[in-house]
Amino acid sequence: MAAVRCVDLCKTYRQGDQDIKALDHVSIEIEPGGFVCLSAPSGGGKTTLLNAIGGLDMPDSGEVWVADRRIDQLSKGALAELRLSSIGFVFQAYNLIPVLTARENIEFVMQVQGVPAAERAKKSMAILEEVGLKGLEDRRPAEMSGGQQQRVAVARAIVSRPALVLADEPTANLDSKTSDELMTLFTELNEHHNTTFVIATHDQRVMGYAKRLIRMLDGRIVDDIEQHAA
C-alpha cells in the first residue's frame, strides 16, 4: 500500500486570458514512512499539489489516493473526517485561529477529534516544550513572532500523531537553529512512528533532511531522487 498516490493529476487556473497549468500530469507514489521534500520555484505547483493530496482542492483530472483510499471523489464531510483523523497540516499562508491561545490552537484538532481534556493538556504541554515554546502557551497568535506562530502550527500538525503530515514551507519564518530543531523533530517522528512527511520548501537545509527529493517546475515533476539523510 502507498501512503499517497497521485495518478496523472492536472489542474489549470485561469488568470486573465491566460491558462496556468499549476499541475501538469503529475504522478507520484509515496510509501508509508516516506520523508519527501517538494521543491520548486515559486509558482511551481507545490501548494496546489499538497492541497490536492489533503483533499482541500480537487484536481481537474487524475486520481488522488491517501492510504489506499481514493479521495478525489469523496464528499466534503468525508474529506473533513479524513483530514481530521489522519492528516496533519502546516499551511503556507494562514495557520492559527487568532482568538485562541497557542495551547488552545494546538488542542483545537484534538478537541474536534474528541480527545479528553486531561490527555489534551498533557499532549499539548509536551509538544509545546518540544518545539521550544514552553511558557508561551497562553499567548494569542498576535502576541507571538512569526517564527513562534510557525512552531505552534507545526506543533498542532503533529500533536495527534497523524499518519501523514503535509507541511507547506514549515520553516519559512525560522532561523537556521530553530529550523534544524524542527526538522530533527520531524525526523524522529518519521523514524519512531513511521509518520509520512510531505514538505514543500525552498530551504536547502530542509531538503537535506529528506529521504526523497522531488523537484517541480511549472506544474511538472522534473526530478525525483532518493537521498540519504544528512
Binding site: T47, N51, G54, L56, D57, K76, G77, A80, E81, L82, R83, L84, S85, I87, F89, F91, Q92, A93, Y94, N95, L96, I97, P98, V99, L100, E104, F108, V109, Q111, V112, G114
Partner: protein
C-alpha cells in the same frame, strides 16, 4: 454535543473580538427587549384595570341566576331558594366571598325626574369584599345592613334627579304577580365609580328592604361568588356547580361580560404582535452583525474547515454566537425592564393624557403589571426568532471553501 464547549468558547471569543460592534448590538437588543416588556407591562396594567373594574362591577367571578333571568330579569324569574338555605350551603364553603342579592329593573323618581335603574338589594357586609364600591368614599354613608331602609345612589344619578343626601326618592318595580311594587327611600349616600354607566345605572338598598318591597319573602335573584383571581376562575366555578341545583344557570364572569373576556384575548394577541414587531426591527441589526462577523472571518472559518471541522460545526458556531449575543441582550433587557417597572408599581399619573381614555373605562392612574409569563414570552420570541434569523448567515459561513481561505496570502 461534545463540540459544544469548543464552539461556545470560539463563539464567545469572536463575539468580544469586536467589542464595539457587540456592545452596540447588545445595547440594541437590551433596549428592544426592554421596550417589549415595559410597554407590555403598561398595556397589561391598563387593560387589567379595565377588566378588574368590569369584573368587580358585575360583581364576582361566578354568578348564578334562574335560567330565565338573563332574558327577563324580573322577580318572577328569581332563585327559589331561601337565604337561610343558601347560607347553609355556602357559608362553610371555601369562597373568598359570596353573596345573594336582589337585582331587578326599577324606576327611581325624585320630585323632578324619573330614571330607569337597576335596583340592588344587598347585604353590605357580605358584599364589601367584592370591591365594586369603596364604602368609605361614599358621600354621606353607605348602607349599614340588610335591614337598612335607606338608599345609596350614584353622584351622577343624583345630579340628574336633582336630589341629594337627606332627600327622599321613590322606587317602583313589579312584584311576582306583576303588580306594582313601590316604596319611598331616603337618600343617605352618593357614590362615585370609574366604571362607565355605573354611577347613573345602579341604586343600592338593604336586601330585606328590597325583599319586602317586592314581596318575595327571603328569596333573591342573583348569587355572586368571588375566587382568588379572575384569571383563575375554574376552581370557583366548579365548586359552585357542585353545590347548587342543576336547574340554575351558573356563569363565569367572561360569559356574563363577554366583551371583557374578549378584551383579555385581544390583549394577549396584541402583546404577541408587539413583541414580534420589535423583534423584526432588531433582526435587521442582528442579521447584519452576523453577516459582518462571518465576512471578516472567512479565512478563519476556512482554516477550521481545512483542519477537519465539519460544516455543521461552523453552522453551530455562528448560531451559538448569535444565541450568546441575544442572551446577553436579553439578560440586560430583563433586568432593565424589571428595574424600571418596579419603582412605577405605585402607579403612573396619566391624568393629562387620560381624559380621552376615561371613555374607554381606563382610570387616570396607570399601574404597570409585569407578568412573568410576558417576560418568558419576550425571551422565547427573541431566542426562537433569533435562531431562525441566524440560520441564513450561519449556513453561508458553513458553505465556505477551505482552500480559498488557506491559500490567500496577506
Amino acid at each position: 454535543m461534545r463540540m459544544l464547549p469548543v464552539l461556545t468558547r470560539l463563539a464567545w471569543r469572536y463575539l468580544w473580538r469586536n467589542h464595539r460592534r457587540t456592545i452596540i448590538m447588545v445595547s440594541a437588543i437590551s433596549i428592544g427587549v426592554w421596550a417589549m416588556i415595559f410597554m407590555t407591562a403598561l398595556s397589561r396594567g391598563m387593560v387589567d384595570q379595565m377588566i378588574e373594574d368590569g369584573v368587580s362591577a358585575l360583581p364576582g367571578h361566578v354568578q348564578v341566576h334562574n335560567k330565565q333571568f338573563l332574558d327577563d330579569p324580573s322577580v318572577s324569574n328569581r332563585i327559589l331558594i331561601s337565604d337561610a338555605e343558601l347560607s347553609r350551603t355556602f357559608d362553610s364553603a371555601d369562597f373568598k366571598a359570596w353573596a345573594s342579592r336582589v337585582k331587578v329593573p326599577a324606576v327611581i323618581s325624585s320630585e323632578y325626574e324619573s330614571r330607569g335603574v337597576t335596583l340592588l338589594g344587598i347585604d353590605p357586609v357580605a358584599e364589601r369584599a367584592f370591591g365594586y364600591l369603596s364604602y368609605d368614599e361614599v358621600e354621606g354613608r353607605f348602607l349599614e345592613g340588610v335591614d337598612d331602609n335607606s338608599i345609596v345612589i350614584g353622584r351622577k344619578l343624583a345630579d340628574k334627579l336633582e336630589t341629594n343626601v337627606g332627600k327622599r326618592v321613590v322606587l317602583m318595580s313589579q312584584d311576582p304577580e306583576n303588580e306594582i311594587a313601590d316604596r319611598g327611600f331616603r337618600v343617605v349616600g352618593l357614590f362615585n365609580s370609574d366604571v362607565p354607566g355605573y354611577e347613573d345605572g345602579n341604586v343600592f338598598v338593604g336586601k330585606k328592604a328590597a325583599q319586602k318591597m317586592l314581596r318575595i319573602g327571603d328569596t333573591t335573584t342573583e348569587l355572586v361568588f368571588l375566587g382568588d383571581s379572575y384569571r383563575n376562575v375554574e376552581p370557583t366555578y366548579d365548586r359552585v356547580v357542585a353545590s347548587i341545583d342543576g336547574t340554575l344557570d351558573v356563569k363565569r364572569w367572561y360569559e356574563v361580560a363577554t366583551y371583557l373576556g374578549s378584551l383579555l384575548k385581544v390583549m394577549d394577541g396584541f402583546v404577541m404582535i408587539w413583541m414580534i414587531v420589535i423583534f423584526l426591527a432588531l433582526s435587521f441589526g442582528l442579521v447584519n452583525t452576523l453577516v459582518m462577523a462571518v465576512f471578516e472571518r472567512v479565512r478563519e472559518i476556512g482554516l477550521m474547515l481545512a483542519l477537519g471541522m465539519k460544516p455543521s460545526h461552523i453552522l453551530g458556531q455562528i448560531i451559538i454566537e448569535s444565541m450568546l449575543l441575544l442572551s446577553v441582550g436579553l439578560a440586560i433587557g430583563n433586568v432593565l425592564s424589571w428595574a424600571t417597572i418596579q419603582p412605577l408599581r405605585g402607579g403612573i399619573d396619566i391624568s393629562i393624557v387620560a381624559q380621552g381614555m376615561e371613555m374607554m373605562g381606563a382610570a387616570s392612574v396607570l399601574y404597570p403589571r409585569l407578568y412573568v409569563s410576558d417576560m418568558i414570552l419576550a425571551n422565547v420570541i427573541v431566542l426562537s426568532l433569533g435562531f431562525l434569523a441566524s440560520l441564513s448567515p450561519a449556513w453561508r459561513a458553513s458553505r465556505y471553501e477551505p482552500v480559498e481561505a488557506i491559500t490567500k496570502v496577506g
